[in-house]
Symmetry: C2
DNA sequence: AGCCATTTGTTCGTCGTCGCCACTAACCTA
DNA sequence: TAGGTTAGTGGCGACGACGAACAAATGGCT
């Protein structure tokens, strides 16, 4: 959009082809042409360029049973990938994720105690160095880091990650010094929303709200007009701290009566008998317990959720609300109940046609989101040689 | 973004030149080149095209005192314009507004009683027909209508305009049948925000929240990433109905404890002695009254405003908050007070660097916004001959 | 007054990119 | 095996931006 020359057209067309492959999966050149609206010869030239760049592989024509000359297959390269790093209170996950959103390598390291920023940087760097060893055959374009907290996106400064107890931690800078790769740090919920947009519950939806309930709190992100809404510095989407009650219960950052303070996984777990539960166990335990205390607790949490979501629906007029983590379980327990609570708190037209659904992507959600954030510059400008000259 | 051909480049460049003139005012060809980053010869060609299309006028070179050959002046055509229509409870305003955001003609008609949709359409059509008489010399490209209510933007269906008492009124369709011009209907606050973005308090700011307090209620709109956030159907921005208290006072659509129910112009006016007051009178009366009851009322309204704005700041991370109407007066009464109230309800990083300012545009705000909405298709594709062939 | 540096207008040739067309290749159907 | 259909291939033309060379118009300096 900046300049205005014919090379920009080329770049746009290259990304169009790449994006089509990423969201639509591998396909034939002919399909690619139909999907992108480009001419046969243009597509041929584009694909050829991408093949030279090592981003796609052209395969032999394959007969698919229909009439006509078979078209060449085009597949995303399996070697182009990015690192995904996801630090949590109790563990660090590092992975290599390809352009095709497949997780190729994955290492999880448990922590005995809350890690410092430097713990994470050192350990992740070591793991990445081991993973990206020369014979691995991957062409790594960058590092995407998903952080549970507020992140200033320009430089990857972690402003506040309450559970990790990091404040103003220069994570982006530290990674940049440790590894000679472009680093992209972002909020975990935002990256999750991006992954859901491309591969999950947000496919084809240009306006949706994503809300994830984890053990540690509630994170949110907004997709508006097909793009992640970042705001001025990248802090947008913080729905967890919306005030929903007059109570003095505080959340992780000290705000009383906020959504995160009132809607907690912990309360549900305790009611169900306590103990350690993974998400699936929690959901099945919850769904099979229709006792009065549980019903009441869910209804109460639905009420609070509806207050926060109601505001967001009024303000953003989304097409869909995607709930992840234990919020998805809360939804599954009584979908009509949550919907009714929400309808009572929204303008009728804005709520019309809004569907409330569960997130579709599982454990790899954040890894895909983080890696794809790191792959984004490559996708946006495939011909720029600033990335891997690993050959 | 759709196709990917060289004609798209031309279109984008034409738009870039036109936009530069609209936001930067008339300027020389050389400045235009610097601003848009295009080559000398390219700019010459673009301007020439636009001149042929009748969108700009090329003027003789003017010496500006600097060394070097003087550059031709380029001025937006004063004849290209659009109709702006603004129905209110007590009046209808119709205007002709040019590409340069100047209001060229303006007619206001008072109503004795609340007008029906058909009243508005008939009267506005008559006025427009009179204004756009052949000898007027204007080249009208369309009609922009600013409606105080929820509007489905695709077809201009007014879902709910509480003060006008319109429900599901097919305003867009009615205008389209009455006048053979493209019609664009939208929410008034959204159009106001667009005008503030281009010519007022939002210049150069890509993420801001606009909140306007009128006699009838509170309307809002969001500019995110430089563009109006419309949402799935165009209802986005409805901040007036955010719940901010547990009271049972209801707003115009019947939601209890909402911002619009608690923060009212009426309460302030009553405290100041009542009577009819125009915005300026209200502001000066308010600012000169530092009595306890007024202080208390303002502080209370600030508190509620802070709750609603706090959520929005957390969720959208804007760079600026723009307050219009009596909300601007409320701000002027005690800027630090409002800021402090807001800071208490937001995440510190998200609130950092946010400035709270008054709207800059006055009475013509909505007319400019509405007309520019109607001019948008022309600006986005200046060469498409689908508009006026009035010559 | 005359000369130079500076800036811009103007013209023309070049280059990159896409679409179209004609032809060929590879498949299905009958 | 012939005809229809679909896609790959390569050449050509169109379009648009850029850069270079030259001309024009100004201010500054001697």
């Amino acid at each position: 959009m900046r300049k205005g020359t014919s090379e920009d057209v080329r770049r746009e067309n290259l990304t169009a082809v790449l994006r089509a492959l990423m969201v639509g999966g591998n396909m034939s050149r002919a399909e690619l042409g139909r999907l992108t609206g480009r001419n046969r010869s243009t597509v041929a030239s584009l694909v050829s360029d991408l093949a030279v760049l090592g981003l796609v592989d052209e395969q032999d024509p394959v007969t698919d049973g229909t009439v006509g000359r078979p078209s060449h297959g085009v597949a995303l390269s399996t070697s182009v990938a990015a690192f995904a790093v996801h630090p949590e209170v109790d563990a660090l996950t590092v992975a290599i994720v390809g352009l095709d959103a497949q997780v190729r390598r994955k290492v999880r390291h448990e922590f005995k105690q809350i890690p410092s920023m430097m713990d994470v940087v050192m350990l992740a760097s070591t793991i990445m160095a081991a993973m990206g060893a020369d014979d691995s055959g991957f062409r790594i374009t960058g590092i995407g880091v998903a952080v549970p907290g507020l992140v200033r996106t320009v430089d990857g400064l972690v402003r506040n990650a309450p559970h990790l107890e990091w404040r103003d931690a220069p994570l982006g800078q530290a990674f940049a010094e440790a590894m000679s790769l472009p680093v992209h740090v972002a909020n975990d919920a935002q990256l999750g929303a991006l992954a859901e947009r491309d591969y999950g519950a947000g496919r084809g939806v240009s306006d949706f709200v994503y809300l994830n309930g984890g053990a540690s709190g509630i994170g949110g992100a907004i997709i508006a007009g097909g793009a992640l809404l970042g705001g001025a510095h990248g802090y947008a989407g913080e729905l967890g701290h919306t005030p929903v009650s007059g109570s003095d219960r505080v959340d992780t950052v000290g705000i009383p009566g906020s959504l995160e303070a009132e809607v907690t996984r912990e309360e549900i777990v305790t009611l169900l008998g306590g103990g350690h539960m993974d998400p699936e166990a929690l959901e099945s335990a919850l769904l099979s317990d229709r006792s009065d205390p549980v019903r009441a607790a869910v209804a109460r949490q639905h009420g609070y959720l509806a207050i926060a979501l109601g505001t967001v629906v009024n303000v953003l007029n989304p097409e869909r609300v995607v709930l992840g983590g234990f919020l998805a379980s809360l939804l599954a327990y009584d979908p009509q109940g949550l919907r009714a609570a929400l309808e009572a708190r929204t303008l009728a037209p804005a709520m019309e046609g809004v569907d409330i659904v569960s997130a579709q992507l599982g454990a790899n959600l954040l890894l895909i989101g983080a890696a794809h954030r790191a792959l984004e510059p490559l996708v946006d400008d495939p011909a720029s040689r600033s990335w891997g000259s690993t050959d």
